[in-house]
């Protein structure tokens, strides 16, 4: 299972006013071997609450570094901290690279890739395009890159340099909501109409093999619809949503160190494989499954989301609160069965039986 590993920050570069590129050095480089398009999930404590945030790797495969781009989000604790306080020498914790925003790269391929990026959605697309241009000498890449204004374009100079390095193989079309450009086509939002214009005049969708889209919701919908209208199948469109708001990770408050002293605990007995095991656990902050696992019991589980019913057990004594149940039928619940991954004790004693 994925776990967090420490990474040392070796460099923090401002790209635009409110975005940084962070270079990281993992202790175990193999664990952080990535596929272009993947992201890292970081965790950090902010005033006692653990926040997890994911940022895409923006480095190409052949640059020999691990880099993520972090754009500051209004009111975002992690991104603000990364932009204002993070410095070389700091340590970050991240899970190994994850994500499915990629296609196989083959040296002999002769492909035409389309990339559509909105704002910081450029980060995974940049990693892909750099790797493709380096590793597939016959392939071409057309990037449509949407931003508010010239001064919010991340990696603008790097993209110019790449165009010069890979002459004729990289085409970058900037679309700005406001400012500078003379031609209408390049200003405004990337909506279906704009795509239709682009596809009529500048981009031959028919010749394209794969499209990568990364940005906010409306842009993803508009572009994918326009691509489908121009005959591109769903199996050739790759999506990575950069949601305008990552869903909150409201979790139960961390176990208070005072809980034991306040008597806010439960005497739990868990029966598993014919043996009973008793221990004290807090009423709040830990599921019965996690408490049992914490006691080195080999309790069964799979999804931990209240879905698969692997962790089903019967409450023989006491009461528990099941916060989610998408697997048990009503009659099972009526008989006292619960999903232990979703259960917190309510009474001072509970007895839970996995064998029934």
């Amino acid at each position: 299972m994925a776990r967090f590993h420490p990474l040392t920050v070796t460099d923090v570069q401002k790209t635009i006013r409110d975005a940084v590129v962070v270079t990281l050095k993992p202790e175990d480089p193999e664990t952080f071997d990535f596929i272009p398009g993947q992201y890292l999930t970081f965790r950090r404590d902010f005033e006692g609450e653990e926040l997890r945030r994911s940022y895409s790797i923006c480095a190409g495969k052949d640059e020999g570094v691990l880099q993520v781009g972090i754009k500051r989000v209004e009111g975002g604790a992690f991104s603000t901290w990364a932009n204002e306080e993070l410095k070389p020498g700091d340590t970050l914790e991240a899970m190994p690279p994850m994500g499915n925003f990629h296609t196989p790269i083959a040296p002999g391929a002769d492909k035409h890739y389309l990339g559509f990026a909105g704002g910081s959605g450029i980060t995974p697309v940049l990693s892909i395009l750099k790797t493709v241009l380096q590793r597939e000498p016959e392939s071409r890449f057309t990037l449509v890159y949407a931003n508010r204004a010239v001064n919010t374009i991340m990696f603008r100079e790097e993209l110019e340099d790449l165009k010069n390095t890979y002459l004729g193989r990289l085409n970058v079309i900037h679309v700005l909501e406001s400012g500078g450009e003379e031609i209408d086509l390049f200003t405004g939002r990337v909506d279906e109409e704009k795509c239709a214009q682009l596809f009529r005049l500048w981009i031959d969708v028919k010749s394209a093999d794969t499209a990568f889209i990364c940005g906010p919701e409306p842009m993803m919908l508009a572009i994918s619809q326009a691509l489908r209208d121009h005959g591109m199948g769903d199996d050739r469109i790759k999506f990575e949503l950069f949601a305008s708001a990552q869903p909150g990770r409201a979790r139960r408050k961390a176990v208070s160190a005072d809980a034991a002293r306040q008597g806010n605990t439960t005497e739990a007995t868990v029966r598993l494989d014919g043996a009973a095991h008793s221990f004290t656990m807090p009423k709040d902050g830990q599921t019965i499954l996690d408490a049992a696992l914490g006691q080195q019991m080999d309790a069964p589980f799979a999804c931990k989301a209240g879905v698969c019913s692997t962790c089903r057990a019967k409450v023989v004594e006491g009461e528990v609160e099941m916060i989610a149940n998408h697997a048990l039928e009503d009659y099972e619940v009526a008989r006292g069965y619960v999903l232990t991954c979703q259960c917190f004790p309510l009474t001072d004693t509970v007895v839970v039986d996995y064998d029934q």
Partner: protein, 253 residues
């Protein structure tokens, strides 16, 4: 750029998600349930079919049965890999249920879930020998093709990709079954047994499409996890499988 749009409305308009990070909890639950049902059905299906290998009447049939068992297990693994991205412990999962367990042949289950796992109810019924297994494989194979065609459009891209890769292989399984069935019906002495198995499996496979009126369907549809209703999919199967049976001189249902 950052117009406000909820994930729910994004999904309702045909939006696609590709990683667990921005999946809403209810969506995640529906998705996990869908994947678990598929994985459990494949594992239970292949486990049940494994016993049939030794009843194969010839080498070609033996190979076909082995292949079906192996590939259905492979399909379970492909979807389990997607589940692993959501934190499922797939090593534990693969062995946590007695996949070969079956109920009585006469048990009456209906389209609801039974027992500890989430396999489709049709996989709780035991196979009764080679002929019975072939008939079940043909009827269920045709159903799987229609169900996978539906699931290949789910809004969670990694899963849609897995199903798109699985679909042609499952289609081949149904074809292997059909080859076996054509051989069986060519023998007049075997026709009664075939007809009895069709009568047994037809209603049970039909039930695998779920209840005609499903309260969850609207929510699944809003999430882009479903597109066609259970009744609609069932009607497609009845037409498709029914046409094959009548071509072979067999009666559906």
């Amino acid at each position: 750029m950052a117009e406000d749009m909820t994930i729910e409305s994004y999904l309702a308009q045909g939006g696609v998600l590709s990683n667990p990070e921005n999946v809403p909890p209810r969506y995640r639950a529906e998705l996990m349930k869908l994947m678990t049902t598929f994985v459990d059905s494949e594992l239970a299906g292949s486990a049940g079919f494994a016993d049939i290998i030794n009843e194969a009447p010839g080498i070609k049939e033996r190979i076909a049965a082995c292949r079906i068992v192996m590939e259905k297990t492979d399909h379970a693994e492909r979807v389990m890999k997607v589940m692993a991205d959501f934190g499922a412990d797939i090593e534990k999962y693969a062995t946590h249920q007695p996949w070969t367990a079956r109920l009585d042949r006469d048990a009456v289950l209906g389209p609801t879930r039974t027992g500890g796992d989430m396999r489709l109810s049709v996989f709780h019924y035991p196979l009764a020998g080679w002929t019975d297994a072939v008939v079940m494989n043909v009827l269920m194979g045709r159903a799987v093709r229609i169900q996978l065609d539906e699931f290949a459009r789910v809004s969670y891209q990694p899963l849609a990709e897995a199903f798109r890769a699985i679909l042609p292989v499952e289609t081949r399984h149904a074809e292997l079954g059909e080859e076996g069935l054509r051989k069986l019906v060519a023998d007049p002495a075997a026709r009664d047994a075939v007809a009895a198995s069709v009568a047994y499996w037809w209603p049970r496979v039909a039930e695998s499409f779920g209840a005609a009126e499903s309260a969850r369907f609207e929510q699944q549809k809003g999430y882009g996890l479903r597109h066609r209703s259970n009744a609609d999919l069932l009607a497609s199967w009845e037409k498709d499988a029914g046409a094959l049976l009548s071509e072979l001189g067999l009666k559906a249902g």
